[in-house]
């Protein structure tokens, strides 16, 4: 597969990776660079508000002009940010690539940051936080991260009320500073898949970004700590919300592992066998199929960047009257998995699945573009496209089960349930 991928360093600090697929007339494009909430630890949302301002006009095109140009050419582009990076996702008609790249560069490098638009974006950002505040999953996730990390840890999330307060008080100068310091070349990766000619795209990008300045290409390592909880009570947390027919349950604990290590893939494989989105996986089979307790439950490793601490995350949904039983059975599944490990049959099945899943995922341009971007963000070689299924196929039980023993600690699971339940976990009347 690697032979079909082209990679070019177009400018210092700007790499393009692309692959032509079978689709006609459309290109999936993604991009990212290091500019996330880790860079402003005391202002978690500066990065996301900055990203939200990019489509509100540039020094070359005001907001209506920009909107009209994008829409009339059928160009879809959106910006977002995470704890480490600012991200771009776009769908572009092949015939409009020239215009699209020019607009993309303009939005990224010369945003207008107009005061009147800033006030509307702030309002919209607060609305989005308010919507999260009424969402059981978002509430449970927010409290879970608060319970496992100190506030100085990059994976920690402030409360929704703190977020509203931060956005209300944010100054446009903070956005401009963030932009000046972090938006530019240095760590920028652009990936593309679809009906795309690599050389043509490289030429367009070079032309549009040639005057863009260099920025830092290093990431902000974590400085915060994982919380050490001593009391059992602190491990079980309930968020009472009114008028919710469903309870969101999250269980997990922090994990520190290097994502470039073979051990990481052993652990990831073990977690998939326990909680993958697959009925052969233990959680779906036991909690849903055998006990009929949930519509959905899964486990994953999350928040892992550059060797910093991430977490084991188990998420499920339950009726208010059944969530406690669900939590109990889920805990049993995790304990059994952690103590006895996975079986040779489960490992063999997972290996077969990975091969098929990988082919299916990469049969879409969007899936291919996302995978290419992910590889480069994680400093992996393109060889990894072909090596990944082989790496998983080479894992042995002697690697997978010790990884579980080393990294999973059922006695340290932290539980958060959010929904219409009282402080004892009973359904609200």
């Amino acid at each position: 597969m690697k032979e079909r991928v082209r990679q070019t360093q177009i400018l210092p600090g700007l790499t393009l990776v692309s692959m032509r697929t079978g689709v006609k007339g459309i290109v999936s494009l993604g991009a990212s660079f290091l500019a996330g909430s880790r860079n402003t630890p005391k202002q978690e949302l500066v990065c996301s508000v900055t990203a939200a301002m990019l489509k509100e006009g540039t020094r070359k095109y005001n907001k209506p002009e920009l909107a009209e140009m994008l829409d009339s050419k059928g160009i879809k582009i959106s910006f977002s940010s995470s704890s480490t990076r600012t991200n771009v996702i776009a769908k572009i008609p092949t015939g409009e690539l020239s215009q699209a790249i020019e607009l993309f560069a303009s939005m990224l490098t010369e945003p207008l940051f107009a005061d009147n638009e800033f006030e509307i974006v702030k309002k919209r950002s607060i609305d989005q936080i308010l919507e999260q505040k009424e969402d059981t999953r978002a509430r449970a996730s927010n409290l879970f991260l608060d319970k496992i990390y100190e506030s100085s840890h990059p994976n920690h999330e402030q409360s929704f009320d703190e977020s509203i307060s931060e956005v209300s008080n944010i100054k446009i100068s903070a956005l401009k500073n963030f932009h000046n310091q972090l938006y530019g070349l240095g760590s920028m990766i652009i990936s593309a898949a679809g009906d795309v000619d690599h050389e043509q795209l490289a030429s367009l990008i070079r032309k549009s970004f040639t005057k863009t300045g260099r920025r830092s290409s290093s990431y902000a390592r974590e400085s915060g700590k994982v919380k050490r909880l001593s009391k059992i009570g602190e491990r079980n947390n309930i968020l009472t919300m009114a008028d919710k027919a469903n309870v969101d349950l999250i269980m997990g604990h922090p994990i520190v592992i290097d994502i470039h290590s073979r051990e990481y893939f052993a652990l990831e494989t073990a977690v998939e066998i326990m909680g993958g989105n697959d009925f052969g996986a233990r959680l779906l089979r036991i909690v849903r199929e055998e006990n009929g307790l949930t519509y959905g439950i899964s486990a994953k490793l999350g928040g892992l960047y550059y060797g910093d601490s991430g977490y084991l995350h188990i998420g499920g949904i339950f009726a208010p009257s059944l969530w406690q039983k669900g939590a109990e059975i889920t805990t049993k599944v995790v304990k059994d998995w952690a103590s006895k490990g996975v079986t040779i049959k489960e490992l063999a099945r997972r290996k077969e699945m990975v091969r098929g899943e990988y082919l299916v995922q990469l049969s879409r341009s969007g899936g291919m573009e996302a995978e290419l971007l992910r590889l480069l963000e994680q400093d992996r070689s393109l060889d990894f496209l072909d090596e990944y299924p082989k790496l998983i196929a080479s894992l042995t039980l002697k690697e997978v089960n010790p990884a579980i023993k080393k990294y999973i600690h059922p006695d340290q699971l932290i539980t958060v349930a959010a929904g219409s339940i009282d402080e004892k976990g009973n359904p609200l009347k």
Binding site: S28, S72, I120, G280, L293, Y295
Partner: protein, 442 residues
């Protein structure tokens, strides 16, 4: 490994097979019908990746339900994964685990007009998926034991949806628009029906609608017509056509003779205003102009509703959708209000935007812009086997899969006058249903 080479579909059309009758070929899609049992087959070749998408569409949806068994189509869809004569837990071939274990994306979905089951998987496994789909078409267990364990799962799916203010309001709006037609009940059904529908009703439903002559098998991806037809024949030819005609759903919604309103009050943070209008069925020739109108009003940041509501800080987001189904469609603008914004004010702005189109029409630039956006959207529906399969599934459901191929040309024919005419014909007060979600502060 050599793959993802951009190979255009090399059409292996007019392949003769003793069991199949060739019906037509359009846009690279070949249609056949099985001479023995009436099973219809669509095949689309795309050899870019060694992946095939298999979909079985049954022409049964929530429109075929009645009082007491709302949600039965969907509950039955869940039971279809529990096991069949040759694919079950006892023989180690439980559908979810067996096909899922091949690395397939596997699922089923239910909507108003259809139920579908699909697998997207490496090409070498397509025969296994076909064998399973043929078996469960007529040999599914549909047992009381499975109903009992799956009922709570489906009820939890219902509860999950109920958590969303948008879904809670949507249910009320559709129930207000369709007071007689089954579209008035959401696909998930009533909670009490999910809990109590007897297994006999589900079995009856299965025995009535799950027949080859009420289904389409679609194969898209790295498989040729000459490979596909013998495989489909191998697994499906033993199935008989239904002994009785598939029942016709004949209920018609009476004409709406005045504006309707509905309100949902629940704990929450932000309000929602939705203004909906009932429209003709999906295959009405006017739907193309209505699709264009929906885009001009609501697609992208240059759309009229975005500029009027989001750019002004009155709404967090807005969408305009034309949901086209077999028996009727619904044109709806849905605005999620900013904090402390009055519902009435938003409703008035939505209606005033409608009035502007009705009086002044749209501009040539707007029309061209929306046609371009639809063209791009259609291009994405050819991006991989799953995308092709998904759109074919929906066009089969509304009664004519060729809509998928014809759509672009039909959109090109839409004129300024047509858009203005449909706005004046359908976006009128007497056909409207307006819904408010009002957040209750506790």
């Amino acid at each position: 490994m050599i793959w993802l080479v951009p190979i255009m579909p090399k059409l292996d059309k007019h392949i003769n097979h003793k069991s199949f009758k060739f019906v037509r070929e359009l846009g690279g899609i070949s249609e056949y019908v099985h001479g023995h049992n009436g099973l219809r087959v669509l095949i689309y070749e795309d050899h870019s990746a060694p992946v095939v998408a298999l979909n079985v569409t049954y022409l049964v949806g929530s429109r075929n339900e009645a009082v007491g068994h709302t949600g039965a189509t969907h509950l039955l869809e869940h039971l279809m994964f529990k096991g069949s004569k040759n694919f079950n837990k006892k023989n180690g071939k439980w559908i979810w685990a067996y096909i899922g274990g091949l690395g397939a994306e596997i699922n089923g979905t239910t909507m108003g007009d259809r139920t579908n089951y699909y697998e997207v998987l490496p090409k070498e496994h397509v025969a296994k998926a076909l064998a399973m789909e043929a078996d469960r078409m007529v040999n599914s267990f549909i047992s009381e034991e499975d109903r009992q364990s799956e009922m709570t799962v489906v009820r939890n799916e219902f509860e999950w949806g109920e958590n969303e203010p948008r879904e809670a309001l949507g249910k009320q709006i559709w129930a207000t628009i369709f007071q007689a037609h089954p579209y008035g009940r959401y696909v998930i059904g009533l909670k009490s029906d999910i809990e109590n529908v007897p297994i006999e009703r589900l079995r009856e439903f299965y025995k009535t609608f799950y027949w080859p002559n009420n289904a389409y098998v679609t194969l898209a991806g790295d498989i040729s017509v000459s490979e596909a037809l013998p495989l489909i024949d191998k697994y499906f030819r033993k199935l008989k056509a239904s002994p009785k005609p598939i029942p016709i759903m004949y209920s018609e919604e009476p004409a709406q003779e005045g504006p309707r309103r509905t309100t949902v009050r629940r704990a929450g943070e932000l309000g929602i205003v939705a203004v909906a209008h009932r429209l003709p069925p999906a295959l009405s020739p006017e739907m193309f102009a209505l699709d264009v109108l929906a885009g001009i009003l609501g697609r992208g940041r240059s759309s009229r509703m975005y500029r009027a509501l989001v750019d002004t800080g009155l709404a967090a987001r807005v969408s305009v959708d034309n949901t086209s189904w077999r028996d009727a469609s619904v044109f709806a603008t849905e605005a999620h209000l900013s904090a402390n914004v009055d519902h009435k004010k938003i409703e008035e702005i939505i209606l005033s935007e409608y009035e502007k189109v009705k009086k002044e029409g749209i501009s040539k630039e707007e029309l061209e812009r929306e046609k371009k956006q639809i063209e791009v959207q259609l291009a994405t529906t050819r991006d991989g086997p799953e995308a092709v399969m998904s759109v074919l599934n929906e066009t089969i459901a509304v009664g004519d899969w060729t809509l998928y191929v014809r759509y672009q040309d039909e959109i090109k024919k839409v004129t300024l006058e047509l858009v203005k005419a449909v706005a004046n014909k359908y976006l009128i007060e007497d056909l409207s249903t307006t819904g408010y979600f009002i957040p209750k502060k506790l």
